[in-house]
């Protein structure tokens, strides 16, 4: 029985800033914007954190399930490099505010931007041995940005948001190719979050490790899957997208052994890879949610999928530190319809665009989003202009004795 993603939604915040505004504000070289191949990045608000992002991504998926299907969610895994506590998981809050069954297993995983992919594979393995017919797992990749001018160009490429994946045996969005995967991992300090207040990154080393891992994990995939080759086995490719320019370089590297001309490489990129970059170019890097935003982007933006028979997509997940996996699955026009119904593109378009001064005003709050505090109140009134009365969202309101509290804003109330 095939397992995979039954439903997929992405929440990428309520605010964004254009990359040219970021570059102008920081006095960066505007000529380099085409290299990062991004137009906007999502920006977090003071009432948002990894919990609200996760819940706001997942609730629209759960609202579509009947009571029996909701009860069949036997596992909740949050994947985050934005943990709130060294012991208590983000999943424990998410479980509560999504109203999941008390009989559901909970877990938080951390493996930088690779975490959600490993969680997807573990969840599929768990479901394959579950005795419950129709059992499901919910995997949510959720993160916030902790970057300011110290991050240089990476500040403009770092996003904010969450991708929620409902996993089960009716994999409408992506049916995993069972046994078709390749992994490649080793210790390197290319980028990291050593404290809850800032990130460190060695750009060159991280890009190198990404490409090295892509080559290594695809070679492992080829060892496991007879006759697989990057040019003809996959009609689509979606790669972890820290910024579009790296994905372009990765594609160039993968095709180098085939000796194609530059226009041939470009045409292959436009057809098989470019659709994956449309949404990531509007949000910045969502960490381990990034690959699943790229998958949604392929499904909504590839002209090849409408009304077509099933097609194979190759996916590459990379997490700094580092660990990686190349895997594959099957998509078709039903996948397109399932993802399109979530309205991800409309939600990205509805974000409020900030100017650089507004961004700077929010930045001190964003940088403190993960700092443990015994007591805190979020001044919701000060930021209420960002909340739409018609949209139901979870917001962070206060912290009491280190316990974060949240409230539902909007018409729906608790699930």
């Amino acid at each position: 029985m095939p397992y995979g993603i039954e439903a997929l939604n992405v929440y990428a915040g309520l605010a964004c800033i254009s990359v040219p505004a970021m570059f102008a504000g920081r006095g960066l070289d505007q000529d380099r914007i085409p290299n990062i191949a991004m137009s906007q990045r999502s920006v977090g608000l003071p009432f948002e954190d990894p919990v609200t992002n996760a819940v706001n991504a997942a609730r629209p998926l759960l609202d579509r399930l009947d009571e029996q299907a909701r009860g069949a969610v036997e596992v909740l895994i949050t994947s985050t490099e934005s943990g709130l506590d060294l012991s208590k998981s983000v999943a424990s809050y998410v479980h509560e505010y999504l109203g999941l069954s008390r009989n559901c297993r909970l877990l938080e995983v951390k493996q930088a931007c690779y975490g959600a992919t490993c969680a997807l594979q573990l969840a599929a393995g768990f479901l394959a041995q579950s005795a419950t017919p129709g059992a499901k797992a919910l995997v949510i990749a959720t993160d916030v940005a902790l970057v300011d001018e110290r991050a240089g160009y990476a500040e403009s490429a770092t996003g904010h948001g969450a991708s929620a994946l409902l996993i089960g045996d009716e994999p409408t969005v992506l049916a995993l190719d069972g046994g078709a995967y390749g992994c490649y991992s080793y210790d390197v300090l290319d980028s990291a979050r050593p404290t809850p207040e800032f990130d460190i990154a060695d750009g060159d080393r991280s890009l190198f490790a990404y490409l090295d891992c892509l080559a290594g994990s695809f070679a492992d995939y080829q060892d496991r899957v007879d006759n697989a080759d990057i040019l003809s086995s996959f009609q689509h490719l979606a790669l972890h997208t820290p910024f579009g320019g790296l994905v372009r370089a990765a594609h160039r590297m993968l095709l180098r052994p085939f000796g194609l001309s530059a226009p041939q490489v470009e045409s292959d990129f436009a057809r098989r890879v470019a659709p994956s970059l449309v949404y990531p170019a509007l949000t910045g890097n969502l960490c381990s949610g990034s690959l699943y935003l790229a998958l949604a982007s392929v499904l909504e933006n590839s002209a090849d999928l409408d009304g077509s028979a099933s097609q194979r997509i190759g996916l590459f997940s990379y997490g700094s530190g580092c660990s990686s996996e190349f895997f594959s699955g099957i998509i078709d026009s039903r996948s397109v319809a399932a993802v399109r119904s979530m309205g991800i593109g409309d939600q990205l378009a509805s974000r409020r665009e900030l100017d650089f001064a507004q961004y700077l005003d929010l930045l001190p709050h964003s940088l403190k989003a993960l700092v443990p505090r015994q007591h805190a109140e979020v001044e919701l009134g000060r930021w209420s202009e960002y909340l739409d009365a018609d949209r139901s969202l979870l917001v962070h309101t206060r912290t009491k004795d280190y316990h974060r509290a949240y409230e539902w804003h909007g018409p729906l109330g608790s699930p």
Binding site: R32, D190, D204, R205, L207, F208, A209, L211, D212, R252
Partner: protein
């Protein structure tokens, strides 16, 4: 050095090959971060050598890169 020069010229066909010297950095030749890893990856492929990402720490110019790659040849 010849392999590094080939990789740089592959990415920047219009560059004067004489500018690819040991004392210059790839950055000075106009390579952005993606170009730099491209040059390194292509050169390693060309030479059939493999160097771990962490070993590039402290490589500041093309001469140092050539020395590192030679050491792994």
């Amino acid at each position: 050095m010849a392999a590094i020069r080939r990789s740089v010229l592959d990415i920047f066909p219009d560059l004067d090959p004489a500018l690819v010297t040991e004392d210059r950095s790839l950055q000075e030749l106009g390579c952005n971060s993606v170009d730099r890893v491209d040059v390194v990856a292509m050169t390693m492929e060309d030479l059939g050598v493999s160097v771990a990402a962490s070993d590039f720490r402290g490589v500041r110019n093309i001469g140092a890169l050539a020395t590192l790659l030679r050491r792994h040849a």
